[in-house]
Symmetry: C2
Subunit: 389 residues, 2 copies
């Protein structure tokens, strides 16, 4: 008897689980990857994909990333300016190891990706929150926070930011703020760690330009990934950065010791890209997730009680719902459980403890389940409000 | 035109490269892995291998590791006491992030695995060397070094050690020293990070018992790996440790964020193990590498000039050659290059700068090439000695 293949998050029977921002397993390109693995491992030089990899990762994959970035972003990188990573979590951990010193001040948005806070907590740095609004990070507030950190004798080292299709807030950083953020970074020597994982999942028009693409000389370390467009379990992403920072990150001892941290999986992704099937797959994903966003947003508009609000994102995986005055996510949680809807409360994403929001991913379920989840959530909010008043 | 799959180390035409301790690409189980990938990705629950993995890694792989350890080492672990890693380099980096504080004193053997020194250099710790002899690490010297670090106001936190089939020294830590090392670790609260990557590649009899197995309660963090027995490019290994340490390491933020750092590759290894083909493969590897060790040792015995000496290892990948008095590896290097033999000089492995040794791997080449390498090396040593006198 084969044991089942377990995944990170267990979905409870009969529940709609809004706690997890995973891609839907049903949209993972299992067959494309099976074919790619078969082609790769039948090649006469297949052993290369199973040996220690070059520190920067398989050349074929770096070439493909460079070509895509040139075509879509006008970024003229060389293959020696791309470092293949083990996904953005591994990459963030590595960047913190390589670029920070004990006691450095680092900055995150309020809200930010909750699990990035866990990665940051493993490093001896001081984490500071900076507020956002509907146009993204408040750059003036960041400047003030940098000044305060300096005043306290700390080195203001880096900002971890998700400027495009923010997790969890759903918004994207406005273009003029991107420019002022880059100006601030250049002036203050502040490194911008740009988590760009949702770029390909744009639903209308074009994704906003990456910080990294807007000014290739600015101190921006961009983390790109195939986690959302191919499969998270492959653990394949990349890092690109201007030469001075790239040199430091690519000299990490783990790379020198083991080579590329995802050599086989990265070779597999390269084999899939070479087959020319990636673009069509991404187009299908965009359509699928856009329809799910519409289904969830439509159901929430219809069902949520007065006093709730949310922004409809132009890409990515998340709606960020503001609860009615007087109701916190922590109060709502046990009520929602009784209505069989699982939630990640907002305070997990907010380093200042703010608990007035919920993150609702529309990535994991189909439209009907999302609508059912919205109905249950609305009922739970109504019940919690009645209990609170 | 497909670009070739590149690997980390480029072998120069016409050279015998003793600089690289890689498994021979020709012995990598490409076909077994192709079949395993095909089976895995045809399963109805294949998407699980491509989704975010459980933080500890695929259960099927952890069960297999537990069963193997119980059978061969008598170690009664549960599957929740194994953490699947991205190989020993990733694991070492993670352990340093999770278990050290800035300023901690850490200890390494002289010589030690050179690339571990690179991983250590990325962390804000103080690295101290401890001498070895033919019976492995000098435990009394370690005790003295711990005392000195304490005297200097540092926390003596951990020892990185390769007790079994040492890289590069080829020796294994004697049993009575294992006992005294464990006693020291328990008494001083010193964590032993046991790099156990060569355990399966034993040529005669049994490998010595792991520190981890000798005392399951002692503060030992064991790093195991499939890099040498299956393929390094898969980036799959594991960490096991007693509960208190295991809890800290398995709470690493990167695992919580991305799940198992090698989810797909680890599921692939599990699929291969389930097919029951691993044991036969390892037996073949043992025979292959033992024959290569004999070929290299035999040729060196015949060819090396007087004044050289080396230990014949009972497992692993390396011979550690002591050069004749008056000759350093750095002096030998350019001469060896002219004789078309590539070398990793001993000072890379020695934190005290000792340069009287060469590491000669017998993993990468067949017997004839190893013998040719030994002839060239002997000629180079002869020439360098003549030049030196």
């Amino acid at each position: 008897m084969q044991p089942p293949v377990e995944t990170q998050n267990v979905l409870r029977d009969g529940f709609v689980e809004f706690a997890y921002g995973d891609p839907d397993p049903a949209v993972l390109p299992v067959e494309l990857l099976r074919e790619a693995a078969d082609r790769l491992l039948r090649r006469s030089d297949a052993a290369g994909a199973l040996a220690y990899g070059p520190d920067l990762g398989p050349r074929a994959l770096r070439d493909a990333i460079v070509a895509r970035s040139a075509e879509r972003e006008g970024l003229g990188l060389g293959a020696d300016q791309i470092l293949v990573s083990g996904g953005n979590s591994q990459a963030l951990g590595q960047v913190l190891t390589d670029l920070t010193r004990p006691g450095d001040a680092v900055f995150v948005e309020i809200p930010t990706y909750s699990l990035a806070l866990g990665v940051l907590a493993d490093h001896p740095v001081e984490v500071n929150g900076v507020p956002m609004d509907d146009a993204g990070l408040d750059v003036d507030a960041l400047e003030e926070a940098v000044r305060r950190a300096r005043g306290a004798g700390r080195r203001a080292r880096l900002l971890y930011t998700v400027p495009t299709f923010h997790n969890p807030a759903g918004v994207s950083l406005a273009l003029e703020r991107r420019e002022s953020l880059l100006e601030l970074a250049r002036r203050e020597g502040l490194i911008l760690v740009e988590d760009d994982v949702y770029r390909e999942l744009v639903f209308e028009g074009q994704a906003p330009p990456a910080l990294r693409a807007l000014d290739p000389e600015a101190p921006v370390v961009r983390l790109g990934s195939f986690a959302k467009t191919l499969a998270p379990g492959l653990r394949v992403g990349w890092i690109d950065a201007p030469p001075e920072l790239f040199e430091i990150v690519s000299a990490d001892g783990v790379l020198e010791s083991g080579g590329c941290v995802s050599q086989f999986s990265a070779s597999l992704v390269a084999a899939l890209l070479e087959a020319g099937v990636y673009d069509d797959h991404v187009v299908t994903l965009r359509r699928t997730y856009a329809a799910r966003r519409d289904a969830l947003a439509g159901a929430l508009r219809k069902e949520l009680p007065a006093g709730c609000s949310f922004t409809v994102p132009a890409g990515g995986f998340f709606l960020w719902v503001r609860l009615p005055r007087g109701l916190t996510a922590s109060k709502l949680l046990p009520v929602a459980e009784r209505h069989r809807v699982g939630l990640a409360p907002g305070h997990r994403f907010c380093i200042d403890g703010d608990d007035r929001h919920l993150r609702l991913p529309f990535s994991l379920y189909d439209a009907a389940s999302l609508a059912e989840g919205a109905r249950r959530l609305a009922a739970a909010i109504g019940e919690a409000m009645a209990g609170a008043s």
